[in-house]
């Protein structure tokens, strides 16, 4: 089976969808001839033609607005927002338009667009190339939000997102585009080679939206994570030496509530890990849901490990980034409670 990194897996998904469906088209800043600043659309314009994959003006609101218009016409646009930090000029289009078109027109119009955008820290990108805005989108009814953590899921989720008839935002953890990262920034870089999830089948397959994956089974505590943090969680769990069950949520909306509750009811403990700042983060919602649905099973308070409530500071990359040490401390607190 072909071995791919996450960039190649995403490129492969786009390539195959362009080939299979003439209504799919790709646009965004620098995605055409150049192939995107992270190379995700490399070669697609040359292979599929100028109108299938092209550059746009630097106007994120314009990119989403035109994608909605095209979607309403019947196309399936897949747009790239160069960095998730730069999606905010498009916020009104996403919240007031994409997310509500179906509802307010009583199903007459809808916009099946897919928004791909690299997000997250660990790259010394400073405050405008490191943020994790998932909670902002998860809060918006009518938007689906997915986050892959490996090449196999990246391809399958992207295909599922493109085929979905509702707007889907796919946040791509750019720190793990080229290799898994467990939070130990002082150790040698890893590539995806040899990772089981780097084996990516050719041909169309789907990872369904709304299904979490159990990455590691355990009985003592449930760890909920997504994106880069799945890899950080694995190393933190190892280092803490606890029998933890790790769930990779993969999809925040729709959320796999059954998988979460089944796991927490089994383990009786829950630690939530995300890069985004803590207050009002997606961990708050997860924590509330677990408390509401698993209260009788809980043996310890739910813990959240997250970015600090400050902007992402360039000099303090690894002091800000919630690495394995912070998870280990939370796991110990939960186990010793």
């Amino acid at each position: 089976m072909p071995v791919m990194n996450m960039v190649q897996a995403l490129n492969n998904a786009l390539d195959e969808k362009l080939g299979a469906d003439p209504d799919v088209l790709i646009f965004g800043e620098d995605v055409g001839y150049f192939g995107g600043v992270f190379r995700v659309t490399d070669g697609l314009q040359a292979k599929h033609g100028l109108t299938r994959c092209f550059d746009t003006p630097i106007a994120e609101g314009g990119i989403i607005a035109t994608a909605i218009g095209m979607g309403a016409y019947g196309l399936r646009p897949v747009v790239e927002i160069q960095f998730a930090d730069y999606i905010l000029p498009a916020f009104d289009q996403l919240v007031s338009e994409a997310a509500r078109l179906r509802y307010r027109s009583n199903g007459e119009f809808w916009a099946p667009l897919t928004v791909r955008t690299p997000y997250g820290g660990g790259i010394f990108g400073g405050q405008t190339h490191s943020q994790s805005p998932e909670a902002i989108f998860a809060h918006v009814v009518g938007l689906k939000t997915v986050v892959p953590s490996n090449p196999y899921d990246a391809k399958g989720l992207l295909i599922a997102a493109i085929e979905d008839d509702d707007p889907v935002i796919m946040l791509e953890p750019k720190r793990i585009y080229n290799g898994p990262f467990d939070g130990h920034h002082d150790r040698p870089l890893k590539t995806w080679a040899g990772h089981p999830k780097a084996e990516v089948p050719t041909g169309l397959y789907r990872v369904p939206l709304g299904k979490a994956a159990v990455v590691r089974e355990g009985r003592a505590v449930t760890v909920l994570a997504y994106g880069t943090m799945v890899h950080v969680a694995l190393s933190g769990i190892d280092e803490a030496g606890v029998d933890a069950e790790l769930l990779d949520l993969r999809s925040l909306v729709p959320l796999d509530i059954e998988a979460i509750t089944a796991s927490v009811r089994k383990t009786g403990r829950c630690v939530i890990l995300h890069e985004a700042s803590r207050f009002g983060g997606f961990g708050g919602e997860l924590s509330a849901l677990v408390q509401e649905r698993c209260f009788d099973h809980l043996k310890a308070p739910i813990e959240r490990v997250a970015g600090w409530d400050t902007p992402y500071p360039h000099a303090f990359e690894w002091d800000y980034f919630p690495g394995p040490a912070r998870l280990v401390a939370a796991l110990r607190r939960v186990m010793e409670y």
Binding site: D30, Y33, V37, T56, G61, D85, F124, G126, A315, Y320
Partner: protein, 409 residues
């Protein structure tokens, strides 16, 4: 309807890609002196052809010609030349520092130095510049300490912004230099608001703001123009058209259809198009717009026509999307060379003095980098850790107080 041709989707493409011969032959370039100079207080409807001209002062023989010649003293030109050369020397040295792993990121302004340097020298110290990441020349022209720049780029213990920002996203209030953010276009309106505040207070300060030609697509650009027009804000709004926005040629921002200066027409404000590699032309156009603003006649949009001679940033390889020798073919030359030749023609400069200045500036930069390295390069030295939690608000709230305690700082 059926007898019409089928609709086709138009996607603009640049004239040359890697492997092609760059050809600027089709570019319509008015000669120096050809574009008229309206009176500073002329009514906007009388100057609606300005966006399609090109304000140039230096002719092919490096002489300054009317009507836009600002008649500057040699001393001012020497200061300009020095600041431009310093900017380039600094850019080259710090770009290499990135390649040597001393920092995470860098962006050069090579080929565009005349713009920020001329405007910085021309405007008053009390005016405010709302910069992009490509106007280092503004700070160089005002003598900003090189070591502070280096420390910011290394995010070390001496960083005046205490490690908060990506390299080169400076902030220097005392030098009339507003805080830069990575988000494109979002400060264009701040310049208008700042200028409106000056008018509200009855002061005499004006503002100047930059965006790249690619960024004119953002809503913030158009919103700022509307406000500037409606309130006749004393602001100079500049579009640095360096032909490229990362890998996207200017046609993706609309340059195949009209000029960037012409965006002013719809807002009823003057739109000047200026040879951005001509120090004197940039000075003269800025002076014109500044006088107009100070006369309460409102905003001017200036397109500075130039070429991004270097890659977009340390993360970019322009050979992937444009001919490698395109910069060399740029018909408006290099701003430093042109000012140097002009000074030589005026008898105010020569090759020996130029070479000596170049060597002295390189020494100055090297010394600053050494001093920065002695404090520490990225990751080797950091501002005090607790400072990470400061300035989120003026007074810290319980969240950062608790989290700071959790970190033990």
């Amino acid at each position: 309807m059926n007898n019409q041709p089928r609709l086709t989707l138009h996607i603009p493409e640049p004239p040359a890609r890697p492997g092609d011969h760059p050809d600027f032959g089709g570019m319509k370039l008015p000669k120096a002196g050809e574009t008229m100079r309206p009176d500073v207080d002329a009514a906007e409807p009388t100057m609606r052809d300005m966006p399609f001209g090109l304000i140039r002062v230096l002719d092919d023989g490096h002489n300054a010609v009317c009507p836009w010649d600002p008649h500057l003293e040699a001393d001012v030109l020497h200061r300009g030349l020095r600041a431009m050369m310093l900017t380039r020397a600094f850019d080259d040295r710090l770009f290499r520092a990135h390649r040597q792993g001393k920092t995470s990121f860098y962006m050069k302004s090579t080929g565009e130095e005349a713009i920020a340097v001329a405007q910085s020298l021309m405007l008053d110290r009390r005016d405010m510049c709302f910069p992009t990441y490509r106007v280092l020349g503004w700070l160089m022209a005002r003598g900003y300490p090189l070591l502070d720049l280096v420390n910011q780029i290394f995010s070390n213990a001496g960083d005046p912004l205490r490690g908060r920002q990506l390299p080169i996203l400076y902030s220097a209030r005392a030098y009339g230099f507003y805080s830069i953010s990575g988000n494109l276009g979002s400060r264009f309106g701040h310049a208008v608001g700042w200028a409106m505040a000056s008018a509200y207070k009855g002061d005499d300060r004006i503002a100047l703001a930059y965006v790249g030609e690619g960024t004119t697509a953002e809503g913030g650009f158009h919103e700022a123009l509307t406000f500037a027009s409606v309130y006749r804000a004393p602001v100079i709004l500049c579009v640095t058209n360096n032909q490229w926005a990362i890998s996207s040629f200017s046609g993706i921002a609309g340059a195949d259809e009209t000029t960037f200066a012409a965006k002013a027409l719809a807002y009823g404000i003057p739109g000047l198009r200026v040879d951005g590699n001509d120090f004197l032309a940039v000075w003269a156009a800025t002076q014109w717009a500044a006088e107009r603003a100070r006369l309460n006649l409102g905003a001017t949009l200036i397109e500075l026509f130039t070429y991004r001679a270097a890659g977009h940033s340390t993360a970019d390889d322009p050979a992937k999307y444009r001919p490698a020798d395109e910069a060399l073919q740029w018909p408006l030359g290099d701003p430093i060379e042109r000012l140097k030749e002009h000074l030589i023609v005026r008898g105010e400069w020569d090759e020996e003095r130029h070479a000596a200045l170049q060597a002295a500036l390189e020494d100055e930069v090297r010394a600053a980098v050494r001093a920065g390295e002695a404090i520490g390069t990225l990751g080797k030295s950091k501002p005090e850790l607790g400072s990470m939690f400061e300035d989120v608000f003026k007074e810290p709230d319980w969240r950062v107080i608790e989290q700071r305690r959790e970190m033990g700082v």
